[in-house]
Subunit: 195 residues, 2 copies
């Protein structure tokens, strides 16, 4: 088709591939996404994908980069007053999802975690050890592991219902409507009694 060899100037090829990969993995999960389909979507030769990312796994891993630094999130959460934490958690969580159009990397991560053992490990590590456990510790009500797991259950469930199953009316409700709905639940998991 086209002549081989490097193109003049700064072609944004690598970025194009990465964008296509995020979209594809987000839409179909790991197994159902092929390197060749990503290449096709990026209008690029399949070998080039592997040239940049080494392997399908490498590509997948690269597609999972978060739209925000988790450490910053945690810091922000630890700085909010204890009795507003529940709602803030909802707002922060949904903010990260909505930071990328189509929820690319977040959806890819969730879809990945559900059928790819390795990325399940990764999500568990990130969401629980890095984010929710420190927040639960900061809330200072004891039993942080259990509280973190409860928080994860409500937050992940929200993501599944809103972004994967797209259940109405939650799927199209604005964040400001969801915060007071789910906030009290998270608040109880954070600081309420957990028998």
């Amino acid at each position: 088709m086209t002549t081989p060899g490097r193109r003049p100037g700064d072609s944004g090829t690598r970025a194009a591939i990465l964008a296509a990969a995020k979209e594809a993995f987000a839409a179909s999960g790991y197994a159902a996404t092929s390197v060749r389909a990503v290449a096709r979507a990026a209008a690029v030769d399949p070998s080039l994908v592997l040239h940049f990312f080494g392997s399908k796994d490498g590509l997948f891993e690269a597609a999972l980069e978060l739209p925000m630094d988790p450490a910053v999130l945690v810091q922000g959460l630890l700085a909010t007053p204890r009795d507003g934490l529940g709602e803030t958690l909802v707002r922060t969580f949904l903010g990260v999802w909505d930071a990328t159009p189509g929820q690319g990397p977040m959806l890819a991560m969730l879809r990945g975690a559900v059928s790819h053992e390795d990325s399940a490990d990764k999500l568990r590590e990130l969401l629980l050890r890095v984010i929710l456990r420190p927040v639960a510790v900061g809330a200072g009500a004891g039993d942080p592991d259990r509280r973190a797991a409860l928080l994860a259950s409500q937050l992940l469930g929200l993501a599944v219902v809103r972004y994967v199953l797209r259940v109405e009316p939650l799927a199209s409700a604005p964040v400001e409507e969801l915060a007071p709905l789910l906030g009290p639940t998270l608040q109880r998991y954070l600081t309420g009694p957990v028998p």
Copy 2:
């Protein structure tokens, strides 16, 4: 290898294939499970799988049969007193998951729903329209669609955390310990104020 033709007696081949399929789909999801792998696990020729189930999709659909009749579940839930519904819902939900060793069909359904559009539709239909919405209507506090979606978010999140990510301590907690933890959340979604 073996001679072709029908075997004498009642070989439980169809059932063996179905069992292998449930296990495989539950473990790896739709895309990552191959007809041939199922056949291998059932010690059977791949054609036989398609002879019985028509296609990979047919096999998948067959693997999703619930271990319980949803109508019965709903009846049971509608018959419990309003103020105990939250905890009963947790117990019932987890009861269905734990009814099959390894959570076969339930996990297959969840894993399927997360990356297979058709089974997402199915799960939404079953969990919301067939089960949770009627329960929310029965609770009689208004706004059943929103309440049902909230219920789904907590219940599905619990399933993800407990059976997919296997987050401790929720993963190995007995049902009786989880009921009082999550019951109040569901109770609020059912009968509490939802602003």
